[in-house]
């Protein structure tokens, strides 16, 4: 009993010390991701001479590719352990969720593995995004008249 109580005490006290540090790390890493995103938009719009709206699409695709590649190389998991939400909340977290599910179930075959499980982790984002966008859009159309 005393061992269990001791473990409970330890569990209670260890994470509390890191909460502030974790929040600051997530703030800095997340902010750097934002700067990278804005930097990529500026670079693409000046190199290809396109509008910022098109450049933002290029930027999102680039970040998704980088997220997928780093997950494949096994680097992303280590980075997430350090930065946590700083890398999960940006679009790289979406790419990571999809890539890791695909890698994990690949050995079960093309159709039953990759095809059936690709959206296992990232599916909730798409489904709830679409449902909430539909509901909010409907509410605005019906109540506020567009």
């Amino acid at each position: 009993m005393e061992k269990k109580k001791y473990e409970q005490l330890v569990n209670k006290h260890t994470p509390k010390e890191n909460i502030i540090v974790n929040a600051i790390i997530a703030f800095i890493i997340g902010g750097l991701m934002g700067i990278i995103g804005q930097g990529l938009i500026d670079i693409y719009s000046s190199i290809f001479s396109i509008s910022t709206k098109d450049a933002s699409v290029f930027m999102i695709v680039t970040l998704i590719f980088v997220g997928c590649l780093l997950t494949c190389l096994g680097v992303f998991d280590k980075m997430v352990q350090f930065a946590k939400c700083g890398l999960i909340i940006p679009i790289t977290g979406f790419a990571h969720a999809m890539m890791s599910a695909t890698l994990e179930y690949r050995k079960e075959g093309m159709i039953t593995g990759i095809g059936a499980n690709m959206f296992k982790l990232a599916g909730s984002v798409i489904i709830f995004g679409v449902v909430s966008a539909y509901v909010f859009g409907l509410v605005r159309l019906l109540i506020f008249g567009g």
């Binding site: 934002g34 700067i35 995103g37 999960i88 909340i89 940006p90 695909t102 994990e104």
Partner: protein, 116 residues
């Protein structure tokens, strides 16, 4: 100046997520889903568009922009076609992100093997 705003906005969103992750039992999946819904909600009155104008890339990088783009595409075509337009235009703006994620993860999974 836009770089400062994008640092602050993107950092703030990530920090809120981290605080929720540390203080509750929610998984990262819950948190990303929550932020998508928040992004979709903020777009219905065009609040998120103003944030994008101010913070630029910082507002487009977090997952909230995914919800914003879903609602934005749906609303733009809803102005033309009514309720059906909501369904027609849902993926207009997010198609690139979802397609890119599917294509890259499919082909990269053929090349790489899982590492533990």
């Amino acid at each position: 100046m836009i770089y400062l705003y994008s640092f602050l906005f993107c950092g703030l969103i990530c920090m809120i997520g981290q605080i929720i992750l540390d203080n509750t039992k929610l998984t990262p999946g819950h948190i990303t889903t929550m932020f998508v819904i928040i992004g979709a909600f903020l777009d219905i009155f065009g609040i998120y568009d103003k944030i994008v104008l101010m913070a630029g890339g910082g507002a487009l990088v977090p997952i909230t922009s995914f919800g914003h783009l879903l609602t934005h595409g749906a609303m733009v075509s809803a102005f033309d076609y009514g309720v059906m337009g909501l369904i027609m235009g849902m993926f207009d703006l997010t198609a690139s992100g979802i397609s890119a994620a599917i294509i890259f993860s499919f082909f990269l999974s053929l090349i790489f093997k899982p590492k533990d």
